[in-house]
Amino acid sequence: MLAGLLPAWAAVSLVWAAPDSLYYEARPAMGTTVEVYLYAAGAGRAEALFEAAFDEVERIEAAFSTYRPTSELSRINTYADATPVTTDPEVFALIDHALAYSRSTDGAFDITVGRLMKAWGFFRGQGRYPSREELLEARKKTGWAYVTLDSTARTVRFGKMGLQLDVGAIGKGYAIDQVARLLRAQGVEAALIGTGQSSYYAVGAPPGEAGWPVRVPAPFDHAQTLSTVYLRDAALSTSGNYEKFFELEGKQYCHIMDPRTGRPVEGMVQVTVIAPNAADSDALATSVFVLGIDAGATLLDEQAGTAALLVTGPKAQARVVSLGWPEEIAEGIQ
């Protein structure tokens, strides 16, 4: 969780005068905290909207969580190495979308990376250095290219044993997008939906404002602000190497894997991406974190409406890189 990525307006929300009032609810979901801010005419309407919003999050979590044995993704993981598994269009489409990222990033984004995460101790843990055998075994069971989709039959099939899909790097963003859609369909004109402060989607803007202010913290001192984004009908996601990591012999190993090497990414500290929707900002933040500056820039060039703010390390030589970043960037901040 990114402790530093906070809505900057939270403390000043009472200043806004508007016919609707601002309401807020946060609930634990998807292994993090999902928060929803919205403008509504009265607490009764807000309550009904929150209930519908969190029902939608629960629906998506019930389909995609690999922590739940009853989820549709768990069913696919159980059976797809033996036979093609038919699934519904929504689940199929998200897997398809994730695999498209794998193709366009040459495997830097990979939803089969779960085994590697486990080998490095980042599944429900803080990380550890794996043995050579563990790593070898995990790499044997990894590889997006071994996932075959048949769009006519709507089936998922694994081409090697032990493969496991985990859509964590795109699914939370997808859930945010779906909540935004639902709120819009209910006539909500201004809302901000977030997961664990790592991804936000903004529906419209607070009355009289340009957008929902979201502060991107300086990675080495979260009290400082690197940039403030005024988000409107767009999404923002941040990946950071400080979310989960361990240190060994003076070296830091973060939880973001480079599936191509089977090792944690080195040299990148924080990547924040703006995109038209949160599934994409979520997937792009991870992709750019793994790809680095040049390949990351190429990837973003291919997608309209995207921009990124990168901080590379190590701390002593920290460098802030803008890839079309639309807002002001504080100087001399680390």
């Binding site: 309407r45 209930e51 009853t70 549709e72 797809a80």
Partner: protein
């Protein structure tokens, strides 16, 4: 099929219901190859693709060889949402009669409309010669329940009621062991479904209140006893192997004085002919106990939830294994009164373990429905199971509203006591 056979089939993933219940095509192909020809595609029409209908549609589309071929709703946004789920330009209708007339390729219909409309939608679908997966409660009134049973039996088509917990592996395992006597004689069942949520859906337009929030008004809703309690009643029927003979109840609008006339808390006590009692409570202003069914027997308890279950055993009585040294050391005396014996048990139970504990009951239920169609086999949760829970709901609501004791014999002439429980 005997229950034991059903469980075995489900556990082995072998023929019949079990094959497609568990792993769907995966298990079917690994254990019993079955080629589904294109002609075996089952096309489903949906009447009422609202929130529950959508949830079932997604499950249906996870079953190989199933296509949603038509959508019907009088509220246009639901048709758009339904098409997003099918991923196709599925034909849409705003009148179920037109859908039944014009969608020529349908094999089955999913009815997920408000319960007051069930009889019209279900009987018309059956009369048209289509199999029906009907959401609970089966019928809104006693006459509705009878009409649906008659239509199902007259049509020669299969009817399955949306009591998906009949298909939940941990429920089936629990019931099997209860029937074998593991907790002695079951005397009482206490069922809770408590939530902290006002049951109110958001409205894109205030004029849609009655339309969207139909659950809150008596002319369209049978309330908590139906929407939540009917699942528990079905389980109680299953455990006691009969249906209630009387009911008393109470309820009120306590938490949400917002114009609704459906109670936001209900309590009902159902007496069964064999002496068993089922006590149900639902309130939607406090979440503490959540969903629970506690099945109390003379030798132990089974506690079931929406995700799992556990067995607990009563302590042995009249224990003759007294240590011999007792006579030498004697017993202790003390002035203190121990409250320990009356404290609730807070230790662990013996968790129910099933080989397919990871299965989603809703998926199992719809997959079994399609098996019934393909293999011409009576659904496990058929129209009789539906009648057996819907009638107690109707009479339970009568008891709650009249604050009286309602004997079933005064209102129903032919309770289906001995048939249709999958025995």
């Amino acid at each position: 099929m005997k229950r034991r056979d059903f469980i075995k089939a489900a556990t082995a993933g072998a023929a019949g219901v079990g094959a497609s219940m568990i792993g769907l095509e995966a298990v079917a192909q690994t254990l019993e190859p079955r080629v589904v020809a294109p002609s075996d595609e089952i096309v489903v029409g949906v009447i009422g693709p609202g929130s529950r209908g959508q949830s079932l549609m997604r499950r249906m589309l996870r079953v190989p060889g199933v296509r949603i071929g038509a959508l019907c709703d009088v509220y246009a946004p639901r048709l758009t949402e339904g098409r997003e789920i099918t991923g196709e330009d599925t034909p849409v209708f705003d009148d179920y009669r037109r859908m039944l007339d014009e969608a020529a390729d349908l094999d089955a219909v999913l009815v997920a409309t408000p319960p007051g409309l069930h009889a019209a939608h279900m009987t018309a679908s059956l009369d048209r010669g289509l199999h029906v997966y009907g959401e609970k409660i089966m019928g809104f009134t006693l006459d509705d329940c009878d009409a649906i049973v008659a239509a199902a039996q007259w049509s020669g088509k299969w009817f399955q009621i949306g009591h998906q917990y009949r298909y939940a592996p941990w429920y089936r395992e629990a019931l099997e062991r209860i029937k074998e006597g593991e907790i002695g004689t079951v005397t009482h069942i206490f069922g809770y479904w408590h939530r902290n949520y006002n049951w109110r859906r958001p409205l894109p337009d205030p004029t849609l209140e009655r339309f969207i929030n139909w659950r809150l008004y008596r002319d369209t809703s049978a309330g908590l006893l139906a929407e939540l309690g009917s699942h528990h009643i079905d389980i109680a029927n299953w455990v006691f192997d009969e249906i209630p003979e009387s009911v008393m109840g109470s309820g009120s609008v306590m938490f949400y004085q917002d114009g609704r006339n459906v109670n936001d808390n209900v309590q009902a006590i159902f007496k069964y002919p064999g002496g068993g009692t089922f006590v149900f409570s639902s309130l939607i202003g406090n979440h503490l106990v959540g969903y629970q069914i506690n099945i109390y027997g003379t030798g132990g308890t089974v506690a079931l939830t929406l995700q799992d279950g556990a067995f607990y055993y009563e302590p042995a009585r009249a224990n003759s294994a007294v240590p011999e040294e007792l006579m030498e050391r004697g017993v202790n005396t003390s002035a203190s009164l121990s409250t320990e014996g009356d404290m609730p048990y807070r230790g662990p139970g013996l968790d129910i373990q099933t080989s397919e504990a990871d299965a989603d009951p809703n998926l199992l239920a719809v997959a079994s429905f399609f098996d019934s169609i393909r293999e011409n086999k009576r659904p496990y949760a058929d129209e009789i199971i539906g009648w057996n829970s819907a009638v107690p709901v109707a009479l339970g609501n009568m008891a709650i509203r009249s604050t009286s004791h309602v004997p079933f014999a005064d209102h129903v002439s032919a309770p289906r006591v001995n048939v249709g429980r999958g025995e």
